[in-house]
């Protein structure tokens, strides 16, 4: 059922090259979250998101020290290996120091590919933040327009919005199925779908996913023993999801930047300050955003209590936003009686025995 998505992930650069050829569109590489794809689509381009992936790192070491997180290192590796040759320009959202400097590395290393930056604001006050976000968005729109040669129109934007609304509704249905019937979909299958979403054009993705979700919705509900919520940035290396399936820890929901955090907010309502502010800050709390109106600890504790689930923090080594949150988050969850554990990964790793043992031990105490 998930084979099509798994295939895309296995060969994503070639798939993207084919889609580029088929659509005749320019490709905008998005690094990686919090920029509205609907804007890119409205500007006549095809967005491809890069979130880091499981590949051995060799060339990237020439330019990034080993203390850069492996999300940034594997993204650079992909680029240096030629896996982004089809990309015409990049949008970098700079939500952490690693991303920020990676944008500069790209500017220097690939001068022929324009880099547009979209800075995530950290100001306390929404009234100060919003005009800045609006300026950032306008600047990004102008930058992408220069690449695509297409200007922004409301008509094209509304069409793109409708497309992304359909896609979001479908993914939310997928999440709902999993919450209701976690055994209906394996962790590996579920996150293979989300990973493919980063590459497959929205229209095709919706067409591929619709029958899958419908079929999943019709599956018999099976009992679940161990309910888990995973929390972090992105579920990479994806192979690790198989470990959850193998040892029968059922992921019922997530709190991931590349997962529920983005689908818990709506699509971009409009390109005004309030619209883009809602788009960035309107979802569930994220370690990479400064939003004093939200408390990630309480959010996660409530969610876990509601879902009767334990929490696993899926952390990427050298990811400061997540690592700073971790001790307080764990203490808070424990205080609320919610079982919690964490592990750290590097994206290029391919042996998961240590983590498997850890998760098995965790399962025993559940």
């Amino acid at each position: 059922m998930f084979e099509k998505f798994i295939e895309v992930n296995r060969d994503s650069a070639n798939r993207a090259r084919q889609w580029k050829q088929k659509t005749g569109k320019k490709v905008i590489g998005v690094m990686p979250e919090y920029f509205p794809s609907e804007v890119i689509t409205a500007l006549g381009a095809y967005p491809v998101h890069f979130k880091g992936t499981q590949i051995p790192i060799s060339r990237a070491d020439t330019y990034l020290q080993s203390f850069s997180c492996t999300t940034t290192r594997t993204i650079l590796e992909q680029a240096m290996q030629g896996d982004m040759d089809y990309v015409d320009g990049f949008v970098f959202t700079t939500m952490c120091d690693n991303q920020q400097n990676l944008a500069e590395v790209f500017k220097k290393l690939f001068p022929e590919k324009p880099v547009v930056t979209f800075m995530i604001p950290f100001a306390n006050d929404a009234s100060v933040r919003q005009p800045h976000l609006k300026e950032q968005l306008d600047k990004a729109i102008a930058g992408i327009s220069r690449i695509t040669g297409t200007g922004f129109t409301q008509d094209a934007f509304q069409t793109a919005r409708a497309l992304y609304e359909r896609r979001a509704a479908l993914i939310n249905r997928l999440y709902d199925v999993r919450r209701r019937n976690p055994k209906a979909v394996s962790a590996y299958g579920f996150y293979s779908i989300l990973k493919a979403d980063a590459v497959v054009p929205a229209e095709e993705f919706t067409a591929l996913l619709e029958p899958v979700v419908s079929a999943l919705e019709n599956k018999d509900v099976l009992p679940v023993e161990h309910r888990i919520i995973i929390s972090g940035i992105t579920p990479e290396p994806l192979e690790l999801a198989k470990v959850f399936d193998e040892i029968d820890l059922s992921i019922v929901d997530d709190d991931l930047t590349s997962g529920m955090r983005q689908f818990s907010r709506g699509v971009l309502s409009g390109i005004d300050g309030a619209g883009i502010d809602r788009f960035v800050f309107g979802g569930s709390p994220c370690s990479t955003l400064f939003n004093p109106a939200q408390d990630r600890r309480a959010y996660l504790a409530d969610k876990a209590a509601r879902d009767k689930a334990a929490v696993v923090l899926w952390q990427i080594k050298f990811c400061e936003p997540e690592a700073f949150d971790r001790p307080d988050l764990i203490a808070f969850l424990k205080q609320r009686g919610i079982p919690v554990t964490s592990f750290e990964v590097e994206l290029q790793m391919n042996s998961f025995e240590g983590i498997k043992t850890r998760l098995q031990a965790f399962k025993e105490i559940l």
């Binding site: 020439t62 330019y63 990034l64 020290q65 203390f67 850069s68 940034t72 700079t94 939500m95 952490c96 120091d97 690693n98 920020q100 400097n101 990676l102 944008a103 500069e104 590395v105 500017k107 220097k108 290393l109 880099v115 930056t117 800075m119 604001p121 950290f122 100001a123 306390n124 006050d125 009234s127 100060v128 005009p131 800045h132 300026e135 950032q136 600047k139 370690s287 400064f290 004093p292 080594k317 050298f318 400061e320 936003p321 690592a323 700073f324 949150d325 971790r326 001790p327 307080d328 764990i330 750290e344």
Partner: protein, 399 residues
């Protein structure tokens, strides 16, 4: 390191500053913990004592307690991959450790993002613990150079900061005192620039290991008369020394630039090592950053100027700017090479150094040396590795 007459003055000044800060609660004076690039002038206007975890952390390192404090925070779950200033500070806060037995409790937390995003996450930890307001002044990284949009965004936050202070302290913002603090801070930065420019002399009367230490007052007391007096005195002493032909490194042969933060726990060792090789660090991007925070306040647009100044530090600039700047410093300070401290803790400073080094060498023919280390975590430094690489580098320069 050079023993200046003012060194004693600085010790006394820093001691009295920390004493005042420690007694703040007793004297009913509010305390703010603030980041090194935070706009402190606003706090001086309101009589708030600014305290700098980024000053206390190196103090812990120089006094050789950072390792223990780091291990305390790591045992509490803070990853060994996090910035070691944060780890030292969190450890010091948990144990009330370090040379002044912990920092005085904060009434508010003030963060400027013109150095990194790390500080936001780090101060969030304190905000949760102390349950005090955390105010962020977001000074975005200048990917596209200095822009009107970035300046306006920061000005908007300065205005919000005034309101925040007035509301939190329950009294009106003191504009008159603010202007005075701006005036003094601008003077201090100007004096600091003049002090650093002394590195252009041959031989140089001071080197970067000296300026790392004499940076403390500009970080902690910028915007005060004390700092103006101190740097005036320091500058005068340097002029005297120059007139006598004094060089901080005897028989100076090699002139270098230090990039990135100091390696605090090794400062004496490194100073001696390079002096033995007759190599003087006559300029550093790190200490220069405080000279960059120089607002022109004699205008109707003081806040715009201040925003521009606070957006300016080297670490907040794009790579093209960094490369051009290093090339310019090589010329202005007659440098023979650059030592890049690749600081495991400080991602925004370090990531990209390999590429910057490559391009600067291509443009100037001046070589660079990368030292992999950490500014506050001594477990990361290897003397043997450092010496092998540094000796080879210096030998190459001598030829």
């Amino acid at each position: 390191m050079t023993k200046f007459r003012v060194s004693e003055t600085m010790k006394e000044m820093m001691a009295s500053y920390y004493l005042e800060a420690k007694n703040a609660a007793y004297n009913h004076v509010p305390v703010a913990w603030i980041t090194s690039g935070g706009p402190v002038e606003f706090l001086h206007a309101m009589g708030v004592i600014p305290v700098y975890p980024e000053n206390y952390a190196p103090m812990c390192s120089i006094t050789r307690v950072s390792k223990d404090l780091i291990e305390v925070s790591e045992a509490a779950g803070y990853s060994s991959d996090l910035c070691s200033y944060a780890r030292t500070d969190i450890g010091a806060d948990m144990t009330q450790g370090g040379p002044i037995l912990g920092l005085p409790k904060p009434d508010m937390l003030i963060v400027g993002t013109n150095i990194c995003h790390t500080v936001v996450k780090w101060f969030e930890v304190h905000a949760r613990k102390y349950n005090v307001p955390l105010f962020i002044i977001d000074m975005p990284y200048l990917h596209d150079g200095m822009t009107k949009e970035a300046i306006n965004y920061v000005v908007g936050q300065f205005e919000a900061f005034k309101t925040f202070l007035a509301t939190t302290l329950k009294r009106p913002f003191e504009e008159e005192k603010f202007r005075e603090a701006l005036f003094l801070a601008a003077q201090v930065s100007e004096l600091w620039e003049k002090v650093l420019a002394m590195g252009k002399k041959r031989p140089s009367p001071l080197n970067s290991f000296d300026t790392f230490i004499h940076l403390a007052p500009i970080v902690t007391l910028r915007g005060t008369q004390r700092a103006v007096d101190y740097y005036t005195q320091f500058y005068n002493e340097l002029e005297e020394l120059t007139a006598q032909g004094f060089g901080s490194v005897p028989d100076e042969k090699i002139r270098l630039l230090w990039d990135n933060l100091p390696i605090w726990y090794k400062i004496k060792y490194l100073s001696e090592f390079f002096a033995q090789h007759k190599a003087a660090f006559v300029v550093s991007t790190y200490t220069n950053s405080w000279a960059a925070i120089q607002g022109n306040i004699d205008t109707d647009h003081a806040l715009e100027e201040l925003a521009r100044a606070y957006l300016s530090p080297y670490i907040n600039r794009d790579f093209k700017y960094r490369i051009d700047y290093l090339v310019r410093l090589i010329e202005e300070f007659s440098l023979d090479g650059i030592v890049f401290h690749s600081d495991r803790s400080c991602k925004p400073y370090s990531l990209g150094q390999y590429m910057i080094k490559e391009e600067v060498t291509k443009r100037t023919g001046k070589p660079g040396l990368i030292i992999e280390a950490d500014m506050n975590d001594p477990r990361v430094f290897s003397d043997a590795q450092f010496e092998t690489r540094a000796e080879a580098f210096l030998e190459g320069l001598e030829k």
